[in-house]
């Protein structure tokens, strides 16, 4: 029942230009459109015309350097490039475009902290406000920005999906990004936005980012840090009831081979209660979590 309602929501709220906004009536953006496209392609009942129009919007917005902006303006490449790359990789005829997106990701990682801060981390690490390894680089939200957990996880998933087609060009960056995620892991497991501590105080993880990071690291499921984070996720989700956290958790657990029928029921109940505040990305992720077809976020085992 939820599947039909969520599918109808996505099809009814597609903008006239073919894309989707963050919520209905908002201008189309790359994150919402990429996730809506991925969701529609996972539903047998989705109408081809919605997919074609969405795909057209997404390909039109790609910059000549392979990147995507979040919106038409500002037009510079940004973090949703990873999601758009992943979406296009799901279409046989769009593989070339997807690979240009992946190459842009390889050339546009986060900034380093600079020599001054790096030196400080080396000389007096215990005095730094935030404990982290400054040598590790992942992906930022913004061009030339600092690396954070969520954009790094998206880029990791996209690159892991496409690295073979890139001839393994992403090997080193994938390894470094994995190390960065482990470095930013909260004490005891799990992830928040990317600061595991501040001024000596541990900061707690969030379920949605924990599940997403575990998805990006799903091919390292045997790692003790993954297992600790998975346990933390299940603890956090004991009472968690939001569409976003339930969707990512359901996807994460299904990739790890768990029976997610009960999670899917919780997701449907949550949708019935809140409609996920009509947020396109959450409805799309929920459709993916209901999983009629193999999810684009699923990676092969390593």
């Amino acid at each position: 029942m939820m599947l039909g309602a969520a599918l109808q929501f996505l099809q009814n709220t597609q903008n006239a230009d073919g894309g989707w906004g963050a919520v209905p009536t908002r201008q189309s953006n790359t994150e919402a459109t990429a996730l809506a496209l991925l969701a529609l392609t996972s539903c047998r009942e989705a109408k081809a015309t919605h997919i074609e129009r969405g795909l057209q919007w997404l390909t039109d917005l790609q910059n000549s350097d392979g990147s995507w902006p979040m919106r038409r303006s500002p037009s510079h490449g940004s973090w949703p490039t990873a999601l758009a790359t992943l979406a296009l990789a799901s279409f046989d005829g769009q593989r070339t475009r997807a690979l240009t997106g992946a190459r842009w990701l390889l050339g546009n990682r986060g900034r380093s902290l600079g020599w001054w801060a790096t030196l400080a981390y080396r000389m007096v690490p215990q005095k730094m406000a935030i404990q982290l390894d400054p040598s590790l680089i992942g992906w930022p939200w913004t061009r030339h920005g600092f690396s954070w957990v969520e954009p790094t996880a998206y880029a990791l998933i996209a690159l892991k999906r496409l690295n073979a087609d890139l001839g393994g060009a992403g090997d080193g960056q994938i390894r470094e990004a994995e190390q960065l995620l482990y470095d930013r892991m909260c004490s005891g497991g799990g992830w928040n936005h990317g600061n595991s501590n501040a001024y000596g105080v541990a900061m707690p993880p969030y379920p949605e980012t924990t599940a997403l990071a575990l998805i990006a690291l799903q091919d390292r499921a045997a790692d003790a840090r993954n297992r600790a984070s998975l346990q933390r996720l299940e603890e956090m989700m004991a009472n968690g009831e939001s569409g976003l956290s339930l969707s990512w958790t359901t996807l994460c657990l299904s990739f790890l081979g768990q029976d997610v029928a009960l999670w899917q029921q919780r997701l449907a109940r949550c949708y019935a209660r809140s409609g996920f505040l009509q947020e396109t990305r959450v409805v799309a992720l929920a459709l993916l979590a209901l999983g009629e077809r193999i999810s684009p976020f699923r990676l092969g085992a390593r």
């Binding site: 406000a129 939200w141 501040a198 900061m203 707690p204």
Partner: protein, 329 residues
């Protein structure tokens, strides 16, 4: 470089404190100058969230001489993330009271809007914080500013090198933006009040979570540049009933202060709030910078209405890096 700046350099990024060769007056355009000869600030006693908050707010608005009738009002609470043991966010009871107060004052529309700085899970944040219940009870529209449609604005002051920023259209199209911060100390800015609260209007979908671009550009400098760009009607209601001291804005300690602060001049409101925490506003970098052109921080230019500061002031603790903020102003 001072020790604090050195340590912060890691993630908060080096602050751009000076623009090469520019004199102080070159840092803002003439149109950005909003200082008036004096600013009214109301300090109101409110022991708890069960106090008659609607009446307190209506009285605060009236004493400030603010016109509300016929205006579209945007209430911007502080909703960063949620901790069941903490007091991070503006209390929803105060937001509910503000909704009712502005309706009573014949606002054309009342909207609640925020762009949370850490969490992207709006459904969780709204429910856990209790704000969703308020929105439902009062049938009020909530806008996620992180994902709103945007327009680019040139910044009329140049304390950062950002030049321009994208702002949510819901904010730009409002007649009156009401900043509703929590009374808190902040481990990177000293204090977080009505001006720092406006970080929340910067859209995360463009600038990320946290809004780290602003940290790299300089936190204090960004606070000033953002506030200088918001030229619509402004008002502030500071939730100081229970504030936060120490390692704020997330992990600090709750501190009962039993106070609400109101005013149209955000600089004067924040200067008064700082004094209520026994922090010298002239030593808070962004207040000092804003005090040159955006509003008044000098006590003799602030018309203090309601309770005298001394009757409600408390010695809020700050982390050691901000020990220099304490002292008489």
């Amino acid at each position: 470089m001072k020790r604090r700046g050195f340590l912060l350099g890691a993630v908060a990024a080096p602050a751009v404190t000076m623009l090469g060769g520019g004199s102080a007056t070159s840092r803002w355009e003439r149109a950005a100058y909003r200082k008036c000869s004096e600013s009214r600030v109301v300090v109101s006693r409110a022991e708890s969230y069960d106090s008659p908050l609607i009446e307190r707010i209506v009285e605060g608005v009236r004493l400030c001489g603010l016109t509300v009738a016929g205006r579209s009002v945007l209430l911007k609470p502080n909703l960063v993330e949620f901790d069941p043991q903490g007091v991070i966010n503006t209390n929803p009871a105060l937001v509910a009271a503000a909704i009712e107060a502005f309706k009573r004052l014949d606002a054309r529309t009342v909207t609640v809007a925020e762009g949370p700085g850490h969490r992207r899970d709006n459904e969780y944040l709204l429910n856990a914080s209790g704000l969703q219940t308020v929105l439902d009870q009062h049938r009020i529209r909530y806008v996620d500013l992180n994902n709103d449609d945007v327009s680019a604005l040139s910044l009329p002051s140049r304390f950062t090198r950002l030049g321009r920023l994208h702002f949510p259209r819901t904010v730009l199209e409002s007649d009156l933006v009401v900043s509703m911060p929590k009374l808190k100390t902040h481990h990177w800015a000293g204090v977080t009040l009505s001006m720092k609260n406006m970080f929340g209007v910067i859209p995360g979908s463009i600038y990320g979570w946290p809004k780290n671009v602003l940290h790299w550009a300089g936190i204090d400098e960004s606070i000033v540049d953002i506030n200088s760009a918001l030229s619509m009607g402004r008002f502030a209601i500071v939730d100081g009933i229970v504030g936060m001291e120490g390692n704020g804005p997330i992990q600090g300690t709750p501190r009962h202060a039993g106070v609400l602060i109101f005013g149209e001049d955000p600089v004067a409101v924040d200067a008064t709030a700082a004094r209520l925490m026994r922090i010298d506003p002239a030593k808070v970098k962004h207040l000092r910078m804003a005090g040159a052109f955006l509003g008044n921080i000098e006590q003799h230019k602030i018309v203090q209405l309601g309770e005298p500061i001394e009757s409600l002031a408390q010695d809020f603790q700050v982390i050691s890096q901000f020990g220099h903020l304490k002292g008489a102003s």
